[in-house]
């Protein structure tokens, strides 16, 4: 499957995926804030309509400040929409639903806990049986390449390692929807590519629906089945790109011509939006 697929196959794959059940749905969702300095209300996001199919890997790219994190907050139930509906597995989102895991951009590893305890944190609080916690944490340690660091503290780890700990902490709760907000933003390019592979492996293994927010076009193009491009504030989806990658893809797709085409299309849309922010004279 790792060879490049002919386009007709890709189209058939897409078509075959369509009837999959909708996992997450946003309908006419908006979010307004009051400006901290002027006190004026402004619209940060929407109105947005979006449906994520169960098990898809969807990425969002958009200029900074366009409302990507706000959108993730609404999906995760960490924030409430000003209008519109957010549904997860058919039910309105009100607070973080069971089955949703979030990985934040910031380092969220707890510095007072060792790696093992960090990963086990959510499970222990949820009252999962000790043997089961041990089993899942051991698996996550191996999966994320952290086995030798189980007893280390976050301060002793590199940024990439710490982010793995955060991903593992979410992974062990076995979420059916994983939301990631620029999780690799602070990492160098090589580490980002490798972390991308880890993420793909995780996605394949768990069958979870993944929503990845990123500012890196190559990351979106290489990892996703579908990429949504957002406009400047108020954030709206201005384009959706189906990448058509096979499920067993990895970072080596960057050397295919298709990767270049996808990245070029994303950039074409995003360039216009970014220029608007920068004063957009040209």
């Amino acid at each position: 499957m790792s060879r490049a697929l002919p386009l007709s196959d890709l189209v058939r794959m897409q078509a075959a995926r369509r009837p999959e059940p909708v996992h997450v749905e946003l309908a006419q969702v908006t979010r307004r804030f009051t400006h901290p300095a002027t006190g004026e209300p402004f619209q940060a996001l929407g109105p947005i309509d979006l449906a994520l199919v169960k098990g898809e890997f969807f990425s969002i790219v958009g200029p900074s400040g366009c409302g990507k994190s706000t959108l993730l907050d609404l999906l995760s139930g960490l924030g409430k929409p000003s209008s519109g509906r957010v549904l997860f597995e058919g039910k309105p989102v009100n607070g973080v639903p069971e089955g949703v895991g979030v990985v934040f951009q910031e380092n969220a590893a707890f510095p007072w806990l060792c790696v093992r305890d960090n990963i086990a944190f959510g499970l222990r609080r949820a009252g999962v049986e000790a043997a089961e916690v041990q089993r899942r944490v051991d698996y996550a340690l191996g999966f994320m390449g952290l086995r030798d660091f189980a007893k280390a503290y976050p301060a002793q780890l590199s940024g990439g390692m710490r982010q793995r700990v955060c991903i593992a902490r979410t992974l062990v709760t076995q979420p059916r929807l994983i939301l990631l907000d620029e999780p690799f933003g602070a990492l160098d390019q090589q580490t980002r590519l490798l972390m991308g592979d880890e993420l793909l492996k995780l996605w394949r293994e768990t069958g979870a629906t993944v929503l990845l927010i990123t500012h890196a076009l190559d990351e979106a193009a290489m990892l996703s089945g579908r990429v949504g491009v957002m406009s400047t504030r108020p954030g709206l989806f201005i384009d959706f790109v189906d990448t058509g990658w096979p499920a067993d893809r990895d970072s080596r797709v960057v050397s295919t011509p298709r990767f270049g085409e996808i990245t070029a299309r994303l950039w074409e849309k995003l360039r216009v939006e970014t220029l608007k922010i920068m004063g957009g004279a040209h």
Binding site: S76, V96, A108, F110, A126, T170
Partner: protein, 242 residues
């Protein structure tokens, strides 16, 4: 080792003390050796231990109340941004107030004895612990609270498993400050309105012009305060590098 600087510091202090003693004479300043001898003879008397016991129990109660009250109120104010903003200047002013001026009021409320001493100790120690706790919470990385919510923690789980460990280091720094101030508050309380305790003992010695006893009590209290501080520092370091 960190032992050597401490030994040198101790020797320098002793030398300064001795030279001060030589300069002003024994009626104003007892020598270190005379003080140590006086302390030894004081500690041999059962009566002294009754006073130490009185101070110790007043101090223990004060510190306990100051810690529990300071951490609990600090958490409430730290988590509620508005309440914190309102409370901070008030607390700062309260803290800057010379608390001795409030002592008559405390006496009226609690009467002579343990109650007043404890109240006075708490008045000195609680506010710094409260302020340290409150500020630690205000500067908490927001992602901790977001993580707590995304892991669907109950409020008490968030407080116990995230907030407390996250602020433990700073709370402990507040407690170190509160430790010294609580002790001070208790001693001042004993000096003004008590028939028991080291503060009372020091006050009577002062009245009698018994410099050696006064200094012996000061020496005892200093040793206690330094030991307490060192222990808390140690716990703090353990928290930082578990």
């Amino acid at each position: 080792m960190r032992l050597l600087p401490n030994v040198i510091l101790l020797l320098v202090l002793l030398a300064l003390w001795e030279s001060l003693h030589l300069a002003v004479g024994p009626s104003a300043m007892a020598s270190p050796w005379a003080t140590a001898a006086r302390l030894a003879s004081l500690l041999a008397q059962a009566d002294t231990w009754r006073h130490i016991g009185a101070t110790a129990s007043a101090f223990a109660w004060s510190l306990l109340l100051a810690c529990v009250g300071g951490v609990a109120l600090g958490m409430l104010l730290g988590l509620n941004a508005m309440a914190g903003n309102v409370a901070e200047p008030i607390l700062m002013n309260l803290y800057a107030l010379p608390k001795v001026t409030l002592y008559p009021l405390v006496l009226l409320c609690f009467g002579l004895g343990l109650g007043s001493k404890v109240a006075f100790g708490v008045m000195h120690g609680l506010i710094p612990i409260l302020l340290f706790t409150m500020n630690a919470l205000r500067h908490l990385p927001p992602v901790y609270m977001r993580s707590a919510r995304s892991l669907r923690l109950a409020p008490w789980q968030t407080a116990w498993h995230i907030l407390l460990p996250a602020i433990a280091g700073e709370v402990l720094a507040g407690i170190r400050l509160g430790f010294a101030l609580t002790l001070l508050g208790v001693l001042i309380g004993e000096m003004f309105a008590s028939q028991k305790g080291l503060g009372y003992l020091a006050m009577t010695a002062m009245g009698a012009g018994d410099i050696a006893t006064l200094l012996a009590i000061a020496l005892l209290l200093t040793c206690f305060a330094v030991t307490g501080n060192a222990l808390l520092l140690r716990v703090g370091r353990h928290l930082e590098h578990p």
